[in-house]
């Protein structure tokens, strides 16, 4: 009895395994690139998705997206993990290999991507399909391979309250240089004096407490909106000896923008105490006219409009204008770049990778996620957002990936100089404290600002000189 039962059990399990072996062939991608994405996956898989959008997670928007995804791929379960200090937390998880199968890539240095992320395809292949906005595929590009596709792409500019600007008699098409911008904001200050409703508007809100808000300003500078040079950020900045210099031959974005920022604070056009600001509160304030304008990416517009709707304010009051720089040739440039990119964890199982790739494909191609966020989609078929109507006269450009041989240079210069171009807003905080020095005249404050700029320029200059000698490719021919 025992023996026959055992034999039966053994036979049945062998038969079971044989049938499973038959199953394994279909729907599973063990050979790269041979997968049929049009047939839904037949096996049940659970994957995790790490994202920085805690607001969409708590509001349930992501659950809706996943539900729509499951209508096409019923066997893939997607679990969401979101964190507020996303970049820091996710970086640690990526190194520890405990991140989700699909995650928004937190790593800035492209030469590190292949260690942690699977390639999503060769750039030439993806670009040739014509289905993507190819310029954004270079965001996570390294040596021909694309490791991440942007979930959304943004343009930098200045968000403003249309009603206040109109009431103060401002025309944003004339506010195209630092001087005209400051003159315009001064008019808002004058307007405050004539108001009868007892309210005041802060012309410019720095959001100085949150370093990342001030880095929105840095976006325009590191990406050289002043000259529209698409090779500046990833190639030439590393070898540029005049990044913060007052006397740069062509004028340098960092000094000019820093001076504009300084003047905004020095001339009382910002909030009284930039060290105790509140980002979440500022969304409502720009919607109801307590704030005149802020430098933000266009991803913020839909958030401001959402807050406006929630508070019975007019979402059309939120306007968007280009950053107030005009190049010497009279053109205005706007920098467009990728926001976070979807990436596939390198150490996930083949099944998980296949499921993850299907999820990424769906999010990029079908979900209209970028459109819903008011951003530019990586999928060419999706339309451009409405909030860029004022940018028709601007030349939009995206920074190119580093030139051959220069991939590590920006990182090297940054380490040698002891400061990164995206430094968590530390330089801007220093400008704020220079502008707010008490008991000093305006000239003395300006002198403190110049001293700080000189200090940053000297350290960057020395570093750029060394790196330029080592890697001549980063030195721009005059």
């Amino acid at each position: 009895m025992h023996n026959s039962k055992k034999a039966l059990a053994l036979f049945l399990s062998l038969a079971g395994m044989a049938s499973l072996a038959g199953c394994k062939k279909s729907g599973d991608s063990t050979s790269a690139g041979e997968e049929d994405y049009d047939t839904p996956m037949s096996e049940k898989v659970t994957i995790t998705f790490d994202t920085n959008r805690t607001d969409l997670d708590t509001s349930g928007k992501f659950t809706e997206y996943i539900k729509s995804f499951n209508a096409v791929e019923p066997n893939i379960t997607v679990k969401i993990q979101s964190y507020t200090s996303y970049k820091d937390d996710e970086k640690k998880k990526v190194v520890a290999k405990t991140n989700g199968v699909v995650s928004m890539i937190p790593i800035d240095d492209n030469d590190q991507l292949s260690t942690y992320y699977d390639s999503l395809g060769k750039y030439v292949d993806l670009a040739a399909t014509g289905k993507y906005r190819n310029v954004y595929l270079t965001a996570k590009y390294y040596k021909g391979e694309v490791y991440g596709i942007p979930g959304s792409n943004t343009v930098g500019g200045v968000a403003y309250n249309k009603a206040i600007f109109k009431a103060a008699g401002l025309d944003t098409t004339t506010m195209t240089t630092p001087d005209t911008f400051i003159a315009g904001l001064k008019k808002i200050k004058d307007y405050n004096g004539t108001r009868t409703d007892g309210k005041t508007t802060i012309p410019y809100y720095t959001n100085g407490k949150d370093g990342w808000c001030m880095e929105q300003f840095e976006d325009h500078l590191c990406n050289d909106v002043l000259h529209g040079d698409a090779d500046y950020h990833n190639t030439y900045m590393a070898g540029n000896q005049n990044v913060f210099s007052k006397d740069a031959p062509n004028g340098d974005a960092h000094y000019l923008a820093g001076k504009m920022f300084f003047n905004l604070i020095d001339q009382g056009l910002t909030e009284a105490d930039p060290t105790t600001t509140d980002w979440e509160g500022s969304k409502l304030k720009i919607a109801n006219g307590t704030i005149g304008c802020m430098v933000m990416g266009n991803w913020a517009i839909s958030q401001f409009q959402g807050v406006a709707k929630d508070n019975n304010l007019d979402p059309n009051d939120i306007g968007y204008m280009p950053f107030p720089f005009t190049a010497k040739d009279g053109k205005q440039y706007a920098n467009s770049g990728a926001d976070y990119c979807y990436g596939i964890k390198k150490t996930a199982s083949d099944k998980e990778k296949s499921a993850g790739k299907r999820f990424i494909k769906w999010m990029v191609e079908k979900s209209k996620f970028a459109v819903n966020e008011g951003c530019i989609s990586s999928w060419a078929a999706d339309g451009m957002p409405d909030n860029l109507s004022a940018f028709s006269n601007c030349t939009m450009f995206t920074s190119n990936p580093a030139k051959e041989g220069a991939e590590k240079c920006l990182g090297l210069t940054e380490t040698l100089a002891g400061q990164k171009c995206y430094d968590g807003g530390a330089r801007f905080s220093q400008i704020i404290s220079d502008a707010k020095l008490e008991g000093k005249t305006s000239e003395e404050r300006m002198a403190a600002f110049d001293a700080d700029m000189k200090k940053w320029n000297d350290s960057w200059k020395a570093a750029a000189k060394s790196i330029g000698e080592q890697y001549p490719v980063v030195v721009k021919a005059a």
Partner: protein
């Protein structure tokens, strides 16, 4: 039972013929073994935690301080010279050469001044409580409770008090405006910002010191106090000549803890003023270097330097203890 001269032998539970001495030794050894086993079993958990969560990370940090490491690439050893690495100096050289990294100690200096004030006020309250006033229990609780509160909650609360925002003015500035003055930016400027933050620290930890002093004072006998009262001594003299000498050791211990605390202050300035260059403390600067500038090696070196500073302070304390112990 026969009463013989070998009563002791027959009373022992062990095999007769074996001397009592040997059995006692056997019992002793068995007990000793059990004792050692018990101690080991109880020590395993704390020892493992200590090794895993303190010594292993410490060892790693010393290791990282010898590398240039940006947190996710492979660490590049400082001492390997190849290409651009020749341009990098050793992390410790950078730490000692750059005055930027020593500015935070000036900030700690302000907290230290705050600590002296804190200890003085704590002594004052402890003395008052020594004389058992009415409602002592209530006031002790009121002074002590802040140290039980969550640091982030305290920081957010004081932000609401000290902020300067014309659209939703802070509490303190509202009072100032109501009494006809101009609102003040409390975090503008080195001294003002740091004194405000030091004040919040004092408010928070006053209770800790006070409770420690009050507890030690309890052991001072009332006889001397009564005798001195008969001699006509005032409360201040009683404090200076009777209470203070007896609690001198505890006060000194608290002073050393204050120095330690001032060097390592982090929570309140980090939540309240993360972007203010005037209030960056040593640990805040280290974190900025580690996570904003992606220089883990340099940050590790800074961490080790802080460890050395704290160790020197601890050595002072040990030396002092030895001195008073010898007395």
């Amino acid at each position: 039972m026969e009463k013989t001269a070998e009563t002791t032998k027959s009373e022992s539970p062990y095999v007769p013929g074996v001397t009592k001495r040997k059995t006692v030794q056997l019992g002793h050894n068995q007990l000793k073994l059990e004792k050692i086993l018990l101690i080991c079993v109880f020590l395993i958990i704390p020892l493992t935690s200590l090794i895993l969560f303190t010594y292993v990370p410490l060892f790693d940090m010393v290791r990282y301080s010898m590398y240039h490491y940006n947190g996710y690439a492979d660490p590049e050893p400082v001492f390997v010279a190849n290409g651009a690495d020749k341009l990098f100096k050793d992390n410790y050289y950078l730490v000692f050469k750059n005055p930027e990294y020593w500015k935070p100690l000036q900030v700690s200096g302000v907290y230290l001044i705050g600590s002296f004030v804190q200890i003085a006020i704590a002594l004052y309250f402890a003395t008052i409580f020594y004389f058992r006033p009415k409602g002592a229990g209530f006031f002790k609780a009121v002074i002590f409770i802040p140290s039980l509160l969550n640091g982030v909650a305290i920081s957010l609360m004081f932000l609401l008090i000290f902020k300067n925002d014309s659209s939703s003015q802070g509490v303190l500035n509202s009072w100032i405006i109501a009494s006809g003055g101009q609102p003040v930016s409390w975090f503008n400027g080195f001294w003002r910002a740091n004194l405000v933050l030091a004040f919040i620290s004092v408010w928070r930890y006053l209770g800790n010191n006070m409770v420690m002093f009050a507890g030690t004072m309890e052991s001072v006998s009332k006889d001397e106090i009564e005798a001195s009262e008969i001699d006509g001594a005032g409360k201040w003299q009683q404090f200076l000549h009777i209470l203070l000498p007896d609690i001198k050791d505890i006060v000194f211990l608290n002073l050393i803890l204050a120095v330690n605390g001032a060097v390592q202050v982090f929570e309140i300035p980090y939540v309240m003023q993360p972007s203010n260059p005037y209030t960056k403390t040593f640990i805040m600067k280290t974190m900025e270097i580690a996570f904003n500038q992606n220089q883990i090696g340099l940050a590790a070196a800074l961490g080790i330097v802080m460890l050395l500073i704290v160790s020197v302070i601890a050595l002072f304390q040990k030396a002092f203890e030895k001195k008073t112990g010898a007395n």
